[in-house]
């Protein structure tokens, strides 16, 4: 497959898509964090009748009228949902569903009514008109169309011209607007997102911040609607932010990441759409969704694979420490000659199958135990030191339990077997300070740190 030729029209479209995705993704972070993703979904559906009415009144897709009408309805959506919730005694999500489906249905009917007279496909309300972006250009600098007509083809124009798609002006403006808003009220957004009550007591009205955020979402929805349509705005509002949430713990990084993810989804999605000759906005949201899927699986800290690996590592460490503990007890009870246990016995005692075998192998490789498999295993001097620490943790916990919980003596061993792997040196020191670390409740000596 040869790479497709990108025309300047394509490049403009990509620019529009990038601005739109960055605008949606960044403000969408806060929807995700505050569990308002579905409100974003609702607003993006509810603005449709506003757009349709503005359309019908002005006879064209004149942006200011659309913006005004749709913005009003978008802001009303939350209020309407609350009203419906009280009116019908409904749960919140159902009330939202009633409001936005009804408004969306109304919008579709209105659009269907006017669509034939302006040659518009009603489906475009869902997936936007990205492909038409280069057709509506605006001159920023230089001679306008009337002047250029007087210049013969092939001749240089007297002054340089710069034409940009009208949509780009809107989307770039939106993007800058959102980024500015987020930057300016960043700390307010952060507090209001995590603890609305605290924010209000500190004099930053959480309600005001909430209102600003909703206004931004409504404006974003209305303006992006033309590029990617209502349903796909939802994907761009939520997916980059959710993906970023899986990749970082810090809010600032999360917002930046979602911008980057949105932009890359726009670029990759558009290129794929050109290559496959398919809907651009659809492809962009598929890419955004795929980014999330990849992150959910592979994100280093919060992805599923990462968790499975860390789980396996933890189980392995526990198995190793159990082997060390087992051999130490044998070593302790014997004389100065290094005591040992048959390999098979160790395997049986510690963990099922593969895990304990691997543990023995790892300990051997680290020089903590000696003896071949099928043979007798014993601790090396280095192994004795390490094992002593495990036993120390175990016996400290037994002592702590016996002092603070009314547990009989024979109930102390099992909980300590579990906890010994998690007691950090700090916790051990605290326990030692509280209950002393000479001997455990059974009279056994506690190894020193």
């Amino acid at each position: 497959m040869t790479a497709p030729d990108l025309t300047s029209g394509d490049l403009w479209t990509i620019a529009v898509a990038v601005c739109c995705s960055v605008a949606c993704g960044t403000i969408g972070c806060f929807l995700v964090l505050r569990r308002l993703s579905l409100l974003g979904d609702a607003i993006s559906h509810a603005v449709l009748p506003g757009i349709a009415v503005a359309f019908m009144l002005t006879g064209s897709r004149e942006p200011w009228a659309m913006l005004g009408g749709a913005l009003a309805i978008g802001l009303l959506t939350a209020g309407l949902a609350t009203g419906v919730r009280r009116l019908g005694r409904l749960p919140e999500d159902a009330a939202l569903g009633v409001v936005f489906t009804s408004l969306f249905a109304l919008g579709v009917l209105l659009i269907t009514w006017v669509a034939p007279s302006i040659d518009l496909d009603p489906g475009c309300v869902l997936y936007g008109l990205l492909e038409f972006v280069p057709l509506d250009m605006v001159t920023l600098i230089g001679a306008d169309a009337a002047d250029s007509a007087r210049i013969a083809p092939g001749q240089f124009a007297a002054t340089p011209t710069l034409e940009v798609p009208r949509a780009l002006l809107w989307q770039a403006g939106l993007m800058l607007g959102n980024l500015t808003l987020i930057t300016v009220i960043f700390k307010e957004l952060r507090i209001a997102s995590f603890d609305a009550a605290l924010a209000t007591t500190m004099g930053l009205s959480a309600a005001v911040v909430h209102g600003l955020m909703l206004t931004s979402v409504a404006a974003t929805t209305v303006i992006s609607f033309e590029a990617v349509g209502s349903i796909l705005v939802v994907a761009m509002l939520v997916a980059p932010g959710a993906t970023a949430q899986l990749l970082t713990d810090r809010l600032g990084r999360m917002v930046m990441l979602s911008g980057v993810l949105g932009a890359s989804a726009a670029i990759i999605g558009y290129l794929l759409a050109v290559w496959l000759d398919a809907s651009a906005s659809g492809m962009i949201s598929v890419v955004a969704g795929s980014q999330f899927a990849v992150a959910a699986v592979a994100a280093p800290r919060y992805g599923v694979v990462g968790k499975l690996i860390r789980n396996a590592r933890l189980s392995q460490r526990i198995a190793r420490e159990d082997v060390l503990g087992l051999l130490y007890r044998v070593h302790e009870s014997g004389d100065s000659r290094p005591a040992s246990l048959p390999h098979a016995q160790v395997l049986r005692a510690v963990a099922p199958g593969f895990r304990s075998r691997l543990a023995c192998w790892q300990l051997r490789a680290a020089g903590l135990i000696q003896g071949m498999s099928g043979d007798e295993l014993s601790l090396t001097p280095k192994g004795v030191e390490q094992a002593a620490q495990v036993i120390r943790a175990h016996r400290l916990w037994e002592t702590f339990l016996s002092r603070n919980l009314p547990l009989p003596l024979d109930h102390l061993h099992e909980p300590s077997e579990r906890l010994e792997h998690f007691l950090t040196p700090e916790i051990q020191a605290k326990i030692a300070a509280e209950v002393g670390d000479r001997s455990d409740p059974h009279g056994k000596q506690i190894p020193s740190p």
Partner: protein, 275 residues
């Protein structure tokens, strides 16, 4: 004589027969139970025997894990370690002997159901799959409403009742289950004096009939009046036994005197290390 499942009358005065025929036994045996919430241990190695035919209070500060213990006994939350035996049986076998009065927070109060409908739910377990409650069950449900003094409210929608009235309906639902062991989560929380009086009356009748009640209780003043056995809990067991012996100033100081920092730190360490 135990009332049969289909009988129309519920005779609370009839003593319940116990598994081994003796007058008292162990209702609940909790053996080394540890419960974790979001990977973090919130109950540590609880080891306690709760005697039968008593009114037992579980007492402790907020966040002590009292509700968690009840839920662990009922199998509503998983146990990280340990086991529970009820009348010497596993939970699965013993479920039909257990009645549960949960906290009011867990319920959807806008639900379209009236008071009688809620009480009838107590019979669902006995009815089994697909069968509907019939005349016999409705009669028994009305009797349970009589027991808690709520007959006038039988056809009121549940959300229209006050907190105390809702609590009494929940109690009636549990009575409907005609259980040997009742587990109640804060039955006296936020109720008016009349409701408190009604609930105490029902509890005393239950004890006289040889039933066991284990209730999470928050009001220290009334423990000695209502309960003859107490379990003091603060993420770990402090003490358990007859109220006279165990409900002492020293024990209460240990229960309410703050948490063990070592336990909290160890819980954090476990949570942090577990993916």
């Amino acid at each position: 004589m135990r009332p049969s499942a289909n009988s129309a009358t519920l005779d609370l005065r009839a003593p319940a027969a116990t598994a081994n025929g003796s007058a008292t036994g162990i209702a609940i045996e909790v053996h080394d139970v540890t419960v974790a919430y979001h990977r973090k241990p919130v109950l540590w190695d609880i080891d306690v025997s709760i005697p039968a035919e008593r009114l037992v209070a579980i007492v402790g500060p907020n966040g002590a894990g009292k509700s968690t213990l009840l839920k662990a006994i009922l199998g509503l939350v998983p146990m990280a370690s340990g086991s529970v035996a009820i009348f010497g049986r596993t939970l699965r076998e013993a479920r039909k002997f257990i009645g549960y009065v949960p906290q009011r927070e867990s319920v959807d109060w806008d639900f379209p159901i009236d008071a009688l409908g809620v009480v009838l739910m107590g019979a669902y377990g006995r009815l089994g799959w697909f069968r509907r409650p019939g005349r016999a069950e409705r009669a028994r449900a009305m009797e349970c409403l009589v027991r808690v003094g709520m007959t006038d409210f039988a056809s009121r929608q549940i959300g229209q009742l006050s907190g105390g009235q809702q609590q009494r309906i929940f109690l009636a639902r549990a009575l409907m289950q005609d259980a040997r062991l009742y587990l109640m989560d804060e039955p006296f929380a936020g109720v008016d004096a009349a409701t408190e009086h009604a609930i105490v009356g029902v509890l005393r009748e239950l004890r006289a009939a040889g039933r066991t009640v284990v209730a999470v209780h928050h009001d220290l003043q009334s423990v000695q009046d209502f309960f003859d056995h107490v379990v003091l809990l603060n993420t770990r067991l402090i003490a358990a036994g007859p109220t006279r012996e165990v409900f002492t100033t020293a024990n209460l100081q240990r229960t309410y005197g703050g948490r063990l920092t070592v336990l909290d730190e160890a819980a954090e360490a476990v949570k942090h290390a577990t993916p």
